[in-house]
Symmetry: C2
Subunit: 359 residues, 2 copies
């Protein structure tokens, strides 16, 4: 066993060679067209150097025999892998339940597949493993660029990617992205809008169940919550940290509702925690929205499955992913790109919010 895990390569290789069906190459096309391999390459890539008649003949043959360029050979001569990478550092149970990532991936895919770029996915256990994956991908030339999710304050991944000069787009911000490109949305503004909405309904004691501490957007929301709470003169504006899971969301809710002077409204940092909070409130005999108003961040279809349906802060996540992909492809092409501000999440009032009942 060697120190990296490719010792079995030879087995698969031999077998693949024996078993493989013959794939057409540019040599096959060249032979049939009576030209050189170089000419075939120029023709198929839309480069000058072949007459239009020859080009058409070559393209026709390529289509006829179902030619696809060997991606390894292209990568080896050209230095682009035609693939980008996404490393996700969250436990499986959270990945599964949060619609965010799959929606993001759907949007990313739309842009990538239009350009025949592949998406290479890797689930990692912790930030160190994620950094190791970036170094390996870079060394292997396996990807031309990467998406960076779950940006943290002073994120250690940023300087590594800068050092490697691996094109990258940070999904998150603003700030703490170093010289990397990014797409971000103004969470602070969305949170303030939500709080003003609740205050207008008559709420004076508003709580927040936050996401994972240390994530930049958690910190940004936390800061905005405190500041807006003071500005709006709330009696109470308490944040309880959580971790996006239903269990923790339920626990945080119990803590908030069990205390004296309980809040009349809670804002949750994701939809899963909000749904868990709703169940807790109902369990405790509190009416939603009569006794407690609930707002969920991330307006996925889940929010409309509950009774009552949840008022939520939503935006188009597939579009967010598409923007990130477009940024990354531009970075790979070497174009100058910076921070792209995506739409701010907007509030969709549903049945889970109302004026607080007089105490």
């Amino acid at each position: 066993m060697t120190w990296w895990a490719w010792s079995r390569g030879s087995v698969g290789r031999l077998v693949a060679k024996e078993r493989g069906v013959k794939r057409p190459t540019i040599a096959d096309i060249a032979r049939r067209a009576g030209v050189s391999k170089g000419a075939v390459s120029y023709a198929l890539n839309g480069q000058p150097g072949v007459s239009e008649a020859t080009r058409q003949r070559i393209i026709a043959i390529a289509q006829e025999i179902g030619f696809n360029p060997n991606s390894a050979a292209r990568a080896l001569s050209g230095a682009t892998a035609n693939a980008v990478g996404l490393a996700l550092c969250r436990p499986a149970r959270i990945l599964g339940i949060e619609p965010f990532f799959m929606e993001l991936i759907s949007g990313v895919e739309g842009e990538l597949s239009a350009r025949s770029y592949a998406l290479t996915l890797q689930v990692v256990a912790d930030p160190d493993a994620e950094i190791a994956v970036y170094r390996r991908w870079w060394g292997e030339r396996r990807v031309d660029g990467v998406f960076v999710c779950d940006l943290r304050v002073d994120d250690r991944r940023v300087p590594v990617l800068e050092e490697l000069q691996l094109p990258a787009v940070v999904i998150g911000g603003p700030g703490h992205t170093g010289t990397l490109a990014s797409v971000w949305a103004d969470d602070a503004a969305a949170l303030v809008e939500t709080m003003e909405y609740l205050v207008a309904l008559g709420h004076r004691r508003i709580a927040r169940v936050g996401g994972l501490p240390g994530l930049l957007h958690t910190e940004i929301r936390g800061k905005a919550f405190v500041e807006a709470g003071e500005r709006l003169g709330l009696e109470q504006s308490l944040t309880v940290p959580s971790d996006y899971t239903g269990e923790e969301g339920a626990r945080a809710t119990r803590r908030l509702l069990g205390a004296a002077g309980r809040p009349t409204a809670i804002i949750y940092d994701n939809d899963v925690m909000a749904i868990a909070g709703l169940a807790v409130a109902q369990e405790m005999g509190l009416a939603v929205p009569g006794d407690l108003s609930i707002v969920a961040w991330d307006d996925s279809a889940l929010c409309q499955l509950t009774h009552p349906p949840l008022t939520a802060l939503g935006r188009d996540i597939p579009a967010y992913g598409a923007h990130a992909a477009r940024q990354l492809l531009a970075a790979i092409e070497g174009r100058e790109i910076g921070a792209y501000q995506d739409e701010t999440a907007h509030l969709t009032p549903r049945g889970s919010t109302a004026a607080p009942s007089p105490a």
Copy 2:
């Protein structure tokens, strides 16, 4: 513009070349170790042909300079891409909300990353696009094998993969997998167990909200439901087809509950529809489980977020993915593999099922 979309390649390539940081190659290692490139290759791959002392020296140098083998070069000489593919053919909104796929991917990843295999993901619009992706991947030698999800009756993808001799593992069955390897679970048995449980509670009118028609497991469950219904002598056993979305699940539920002689229990083909069904029942003023018992297939964390929590049919989906990955890696190595039967889903009774209240 050419007929496939790689016309811009040259731009990225040039830029990458100018910008790229120098990556170490086996030539660098050979120079520093004073041996040939061939010797370096043998040493790093654990092949015979170098003395143990030389091997250790080479490995030490490789580690020191942070060497990673260029995956394109390996693929080009060895014919294995060290990557496998997963094409998903479902609309984004369903992909996002169903925990199944992300959990499956998590499990697959665990096996793959231990062997430094990459997972290439592609979201496709329809079965034709999916088949085109397989043909392209094969032609590009981009992947060494693929996972096939959402198996259909007489699935058109099966003969294509057989023709290409592309190693594949079907996630689903039994049957309709042609000569391809597969992992499957006995859904019929799980459904029968559930029905017997409901009958034991006293239910005589049981309905089912089914998944997408045409999917093999939908058909298998449908057949088992009818047969068991007859065997158990139910007064009523009606299946309403649906599509896994909350909206359709809600509509199907309204239809079932609005009719005369409404069922006292409903089994849903996924958790999302079950949650939607619960909300509909509550909206209509029916008590769950008093007036209506609800069972969800796919016991994700979502099922414990509702009030009451849902009785569900669950199994370890990450493990299912891990088994599929192990099968696929074996197929790539050329080992003979067939159908692997995974654990049968088991029922976890929670608050959403009880004896029906006397009418």
